[in-house]
């Protein structure tokens, strides 16, 4: 047991050290959602009225509405960036150090996912702190209650990123794939607009948003921040985290990449 603990600790510590070394990564991760919060939301506030919807008990500003979506946006980008670094590590060879460890490969990959998720959480709470001073103030207890929800979503998106990275042959292919994943996932979700609003615009768009896993992630976080439980969202997120993790571990095999290259 100590062996596994030390291994997990070591992998998390390495991710932390790499994160500390790359301060620009921290700031760039914050700039993106802050631009949405301060610039985009300011413009939309006037145009978009938000009715009283779960989990809010009263009318809210548009900024308040999109903060949960923006926290998930941080997790989405970090999850994908984590998988990008996996592809990079694989190409550069440093992944070999991890894979020649005597511990089970599934445990090593799970540890890597946990490490990526924990680093993402730091950025999320930095964003929530800035949003707080900007005027978006969920209950203080909500910030604590949201922690497990945020961790689950971070794991879900990291596992999805790892799964996608397994199918990528080269680093150069990654950007293209991400454009087909990050942007559709984010925009076709409840992160920026309530689903009923989307339904007013288009029925089929509504259904795409409704089945988008990212919508469930956003709603889970939104409800947790306001001390509510969203059971369906929780179930969907748990199931998909498990599914993506298992698929990612099964499909992770450097041999497959070599065989594909050879073919």
């Amino acid at each position: 047991m100590i062996t596994y603990w030390e291994c997990l600790r070591g992998i998390v510590l390495r991710e932390w050290l790499r994160f500390v070394q790359q301060r620009s990564r921290f700031f760039s991760a914050l700039v993106r959602p802050l631009l949405w919060l301060v610039v985009f939301a300011a413009g939309f506030r006037a145009a978009l009225g938000i009715a009283i919807i779960e989990p809010y008990e009263t009318y809210i500003t548009y900024e308040t509405y999109i903060v949960p979506g923006l926290t998930c946006m941080i997790l989405l980008f970090n999850g994908m960036q984590g998988s990008l670094s996996m592809v990079y590590d694989r190409e550069m060879g440093s992944m070999r150090v991890l894979l020649t460890s005597p511990l089970p490969r599934s445990f090593l990959l799970a540890s890597k996912l946990v490490a990526t998720a924990l680093i993402s959480l730091l950025q999320v709470y930095a964003f929530l702190a800035i949003a707080w001073f900007y005027g978006v103030q969920p209950p203080l207890l909500g910030l604590l209650v949201a922690l497990p929800a945020l961790l689950l979503v971070a794991l879900l998106l990291s596992a999805l990123g790892l799964l996608l990275s397994n199918g990528i042959r080269q680093l150069e292919n990654f950007a293209g794939v991400m454009n087909f994943v990050i942007f559709p996932m984010f925009f076709l979700s409840s992160a920026l607009y309530p689903l009923w609003k989307m339904r007013e615009a288009s029925e089929w768009l509504y259904w795409i948003c409704a089945i988008n896993p990212f919508s469930y992630a956003v709603e889970l976080v939104r409800h947790a921040l306001y001390l509510r439980l969203a059971p369906t969202a929780l179930l969907v997120c748990l199931s998909l985290t498990l599914l993506f993790s298992v698929l990612a571990v099964i499909s992770f095999n450097p041999q497959h990449a070599a065989l594909r290259r050879s073919a």
Binding site: E6, G10, R14, L17, G93, V97, P102, S262, A263
Partner: protein, 299 residues
């Protein structure tokens, strides 16, 4: 093969074959590496060395055959086998933005080493590799030779039975290359470490090394290096003969006086200027024709 922990050989490879789709990379490879010996695995580019290394380190799954490290089968008891293997890959696998010590700690963690034990071993290995003063330096700041030493320190941290070095001298200047080769031999002699050293450079082989020659996925020769050299040949000519590589590369020149400065009989394509240039103070002829082996009757 495969069951117990007691073994006469540090490494046993039995009937190993591997194919990338239709293309065979290894075909029925059999050999052993004895405990406490320096075993050189020679082969031209494309011989199958990298595939073999990937199999030995379990990066690839075995398609056919068996591999045992210190008596433990890589297929049946991978964890026990990998614990006994230290690896230095051809391509540096150090994290450039972390310090020497942080890199070593990461490796210790991957082997589940308790912190106290890791600290003691890191201290010891840094001293042995003469890197103590560099412990807080970022790897990025180190030269190629020092980086290789860090990788060796890292590979030895978990006290493996077998140290595997995959073209570890690639990219080093001649002096560093020679120093590294010397250093690993010293590990072998002083610590009884078993070493498998893969290379395509003849001058890294000595007459009394155990030698394996891999060509086009097959093991074409194995034995004490000196005994593989035929009467009237030098090592370069012998390997050109064994690998049938004459006329297609610098192998054709191998038996002659050095064809060009530092050209290697096995290098179909020169890896880099660094790896093939002779020692600055050495004789080019000595460098390429592997002088230690010329005294083939020594062993």
């Amino acid at each position: 093969m495969g069951g117990g922990g007691y073994a006469m050989n540090a490494l046993e490879v039995a009937d190993v074959a591997f194919a990338y789709g239709e293309r065979k990379a290894l075909d029925g490879v059999n050999f052993t590496a004895a405990k406490g010996r320096f075993t050189a695995l020679l082969g031209p580019n494309g011989a199958g060395k990298s595939t073999l290394i990937a199999l030995l380190t379990r990066l690839y799954d075995l398609q056919q055959g068996q591999i045992s490290i210190a008596g433990f089968s890589l297929r049946d008891a991978p964890r026990k086998a990998l614990v006994r293997l230290g690896v230095v890959f051809q391509q540096s696998t150090l994290d450039l933005d972390l310090t020497v010590e942080q890199n070593l700690r990461y490796h210790a963690a991957l082997h589940g080493m308790p912190r106290q034990v890791a600290s003691e071993r890191i201290e010891l290995e840094l001293q042995r590799q003469q890197l103590s003063e560099r412990r807080r330096s970022k790897v990025r700041e180190l030269n190629g030779g020092h980086r290789r030493r860090v990788e060796i320190a890292r590979a030895l941290l978990h006290r493996p039975d077998l140290l595997l070095l995959d073209e570890a001298s690639a990219g080093l200047d001649p002096a560093s290359r020679q120093a590294l080769n010397q250093h690993v031999r010293m590990l072998c002699q002083e610590r009884g470490m078993s070493v498998l050293w893969t290379t395509h450079l003849l001058d890294e082989v000595r007459a009394d090394d155990d030698l394996l020659v891999l060509n086009r996925g097959r093991l074409v020769a194995q034995g004490r290096a000196a005994t593989l050299v035929a009467e009237g040949e030098d090592l370069a000519a012998s390997f050109a003969r064994l690998t049938g590589n004459d006329g297609q590369s610098s192998v054709s020149d191998a038996g002659d006086a050095p064809p060009q400065r530092g050209a290697t009989p096995f290098a179909v394509e020169p890896a880099s200027t660094d790896t093939i240039m002779p020692e600055p103070r050495g004789d080019a002829a000595q460098h390429t024709s592997a002088p230690p082996v010329s005294g083939r009757n020594r062993s």
